[in-house]
């Protein structure tokens, strides 16, 4: 790698040119479309290329479809047996490596999060097919655990050898009678990233689980929280706040979720979407099939949390709830403000870069704003153009060849359960009062003019950015963490939170302020040079006392 050079006053165009300079021409052309200099415009944002295939050999941060389906969406549920059909690796690597916490650990409910289950395919299974082994494994899991549901996940070879996992699942489900068995064709090579796996998971959960609950939820203000995975206990903190406001979250997709919570999602009166990328499909389908509107919320950042709570209260429109929400905000804010005031002098004016999966690169800018920190550059691993530019571009999106085979399912209004929660007039009135439905304006408008927005950032670009722009803090994942820190720049993981958290909600904001203060002001960054490196010239001899 080149020696560090500092651009005293970096120009976004210069930086972009320097990022592209080393690439073979074809790669440079492609990357040029995925590196965008932001022009914060009122109603439209410049286009960026996203959700396209990864460049081979570029050292991407991306993972695969299986990771998006099993690891992200289904992994956090406690009482569903997740059975991976494939060689052992995929199951092993998704075993307790995402920090989606559950409180099923503390009660008598089923909790399978601590188990990794696999058919451990061998070469003979590749040659003769693995369906028999899969059926036997499902039977063994059923006999051992008697779960409510067994979910099966395909891995790369499964699609190639033609195992029909859905047929096996259907057969076993009929055989058991008291255990729902369903399958996900989330082979790692599908699509171009984790994103395809989200979509596949959304479709199957919606088809096989949602609406299947027998228990009626009778709470007054019922919502679904979609796209919150309870990393480091984020979901616990959000639930604490909602509870305090008298809002009942009946179904989280999918942090600390259970089979029954998924199954009763159709009973909520509002869906609140946190991570738009991973779960907007379910949000849309809940609306189409059951008449539940959805709004975009964000519980990352104290101000954003307050805003989201007010949105929910506004939707329900009842004074008791609106007052309750205001009271809760008033009660929670002083502690937040105190922590903010404490760190602000030490964080104000510092700069950050954020390159995280498909939503946090946007959400976390709220927290940095609250600390007076400026985001110089941000981007997603696997966001789509709507996550960057806003949902208004969806009609213009073209599905390319690499993602064409991801199933799109058509849902119809349910003949029995469809019930519009709000009349067209009520919705129109709410919109007039500033509540936006089914909308997400994306990352780009949230960022300042002249900032760099980069899709599918790779190792080379990450190092180059740090070298050129010298941020005070770099946020990404475990694979990036230590190379960035070797450069002497503090690095915060925004996937795993570096074993910290929660960072959502009010208490989460306090945790985050303190954590970032700790990180950017740690003494360790001043120890990189030894005293004899600081002053290498011998100007005097040592004088013994």
């Amino acid at each position: 790698m080149a020696k560090a050079q500092k651009l005293v006053q970096w120009e976004p165009n210069d930086v972009k040119d320097k990022l592209l300079a080393k690439y073979p021409p074809k790669v440079a052309r492609k990357r040029a479309k995925q590196i965008m200099i932001n022009e914060a415009l009122e109603n439209t944002t410049p286009t960026i290329e996203a959700n396209v295939r990864t460049i081979p050999g570029i050292i991407t941060m991306r993972g695969c479809t299986y990771a998006g389906c099993k690891g992200v969406i289904m992994g956090p549920t406690s009482d569903i047996v997740n059975l991976v059909h494939g060689p052992i690796g995929c199951s092993f690597y998704a075993w307790l490596t995402r920090r989606n916490q559950t409180d099923a650990i503390n009660d008598s409910n089923a909790n399978f999060i601590t188990y990794a289950m696999s058919t451990d395919m061998q070469d003979s299974d590749i040659i003769f097919g693995g369906e028999k082994k899969l059926a036997a494994a499902i039977q063994e899991a059923y006999d051992l655990f008697h779960p409510k549901a067994i979910a099966i996940f395909a891995t790369c070879p499964v699609g190639l050898i033609g195992d029909d996992i859905h047929a096996v699942a259907k057969r076993m489900k009929e055989q058991f009678g008291d255990c729902n068995v369903f399958a996900f064709s989330c082979e790692g090579y599908k699509g171009v990233s984790q994103s395809a796996g989200h979509h596949i998971a959304n479709n199957q959960v919606f088809t096989h689980v949602v609406g299947k609950s027998e228990t009626e939820k009778t709470d007054k203000y019922k919502i679904n929280l979609l796209g919150e995975y309870n990393i480091g206990g984020d979901g616990f903190e959000i639930d604490r706040i909602l509870e305090k406001c008298g809002i009942k979250n009946i179904s989280t997709f999918s942090g600390n979720a259970t089979y029954d919570k998924f199954a009763s999602a159709n009973q909520a009166d509002l869906s609140c979407v946190m991570c738009h990328r991973s779960i907007n499909y379910v949000a849309d389908m809940l609306e189409t099939k059951y008449g539940i509107p959805w709004i975009k919320v964000n519980f990352i950042g104290a101000e954003a949390t307050a805003k989201s709570l007010r949105k929910i209260a506004q939707y329900f429109g009842e004074k008791e709830l609106i007052d309750r929400v205001e009271a809760v905000i008033a009660e929670e804010m002083p502690a937040v403000k105190a922590a903010q005031a404490e760190v602000y002098p030490r964080t104000n004016g510092k700069t950050a870069m954020l390159f995280v999966g498909g939503s946090r690169a946007h959400h976390y800018q709220e927290l940095f704003n609250e600390m007076g920190m400026k985001t110089l550059s941000a981007g997603y691993e696997f966001g789509h153009r709507d996550d960057y530019e806003g949902r208004h571009v969806i009609p213009t999106l073209k599905v390319d060849a690499d993602s064409r085979n991801i199933e799109e399912i058509e849902v119809e209004p349910d003949p029995v359960l469809y019930k519009p929660r709000k009349s067209a007039e009520e919705i129109a009135a709410l919109v007039k009062d500033g509540l936006e439905f089914k909308d997400y304006e994306g990352l780009n408008p949230a960022m300042e003019k002249g900032t760099l927005i980069i899709d599918d950032l790779n190792q080379y670009e990450a190092e180059k950015l740090v070298e050129l722009m010298k941020p005070d803090l770099f946020c990404a994942g475990i694979k990036e963490k230590f190379s960035i820190q070797k450069l002497g720049v503090p690095m915060k993981q925004l996937h795993s939170y570096d074993s910290g958290g929660p960072y959502a909600g009010f208490q989460g904001a306090v945790n985050f302020y303190r954590e970032i203060d700790r990180l950017v002001n740690s003494k360790v960054w001043s120890y990189m040079k030894a005293p004899w490196q600081e002053n290498p010239e011998l100007s005097a001899t040592y004088v013994w006392e």
Partner: protein, 457 residues
Amino acid sequence: MLLRHTPQEITERKALMINPAKTCQPIGAMYAALGIKGCLPHSHGSQGCCAYHRSTLTRHYKEPISAATSSFTEGASVFGGQANLLQAIDNIFTVYEPEVIAVHTTCLSETIGDDLPQIFDKAIKEKKVPEGKTLIGAPTPSYVGSHVTGFSNMVKAMANLAAPGGKKNGKINIIPGWVEPSDMEEIKKIAAMVGVDINMFPDTSGVLNGPLTGEYKMFPEAGTPVADIKDSGNALGTLALGEWCSADAARLLDTKCKVPCSVLDMPFGLKATDRFVDALRTVAGTSVPDEIMVERGKLVDMISDMHQYFYGKKVALVGDPDQLIAMTEFLVSIDMMPIHIVTGTPGKRLEERIMEITAGMGRPVNVRAKGDMFLLHQWIKNEPVDLLIGNTYCKYIARDEDVPYVRWGFPILDRQGHQHFPTVGYKGGLRLLEQILGVLLDRKDRDDPESKFELVL
């Protein structure tokens, strides 16, 4: 309880693996390749594998792990990944400039039957490989063996770089097997003390335990240079440490370049280290110096000093075959009783070796190759143990069953030290004993009634 669905009653499972005591081949190949100087490992498959393997190694070492991937799409999965790999080779040499690209495969490229040598030929013909740079490759199908197999396959691919017919270099090859960077350093140190000129590959010391200086080098000045690996064909002999990890490469050097080899156990514990030092002394015709005798004596001294705490204690062990064999022998040699032993890696030979080593204990021992941690946990429920040794995943069993626990093996995701402090050799034996004693005596201090709580132990 974290694992409350694990029943005490054992039912044999034929199809379902739960909580594996192994992972898949490519991660082993990736780790091995990082022991070559200036090498970028490359995963020829869909990118999820590479992300997972890098993440696991990174969590284990708290160090950057660079590796590239062919990033298969569905199209490539049907029509073959040649175009992806050719593009990757070009991009890697242009952007990252490694000396070597070490390609391994995944279940995806193996199932479709991509032919690495043919793709390499094409890459060279198309001038995608700059002058003086090296491509090596190993097939590492995830549905065969385990991560250990993948490690072995990549080390074998390294050995395959050696060509016969050169001038003898007077060195001894050491193939250290899947041990930590700290262990590789220790092995080099022992060889230097015995006065043996060695050529060791792979060597991850200095690659995966590097300093923080404000500068990041993707390819640090460490690892075994390709020239040395090629030169291994001219050595006097090869010491392969660990049958599973190192024997294939050593035997290849023997058949291909007529370098005689000897397969030893990994040098964990007193006796295996004795055999390693003895072998070094014999092949090099040197005598063992006093400082090694002193190190050895310290280990024997500690065994004798603390023997009462080891004596008769029951141990459960989980890990990889080569490590398990040496560790079991070490525990038996200090009069502990390893009674439940599991690896996920297939190989009947492991069960035989463990039976031989534990034969003198005069009691039955549970041992299972191709087992899993669910089974190990059930064994522990049926016959509790005083100590559990294994990777980080054991902490769930340790907590549920309240068993003193030493982290050892791969991966260790929640503690530090393995990359800096060896567990091989006499020095490593001292460290292992220190760790074992620490957890046993901490437990005693925790559980003794106050009237029996003692200052001196």
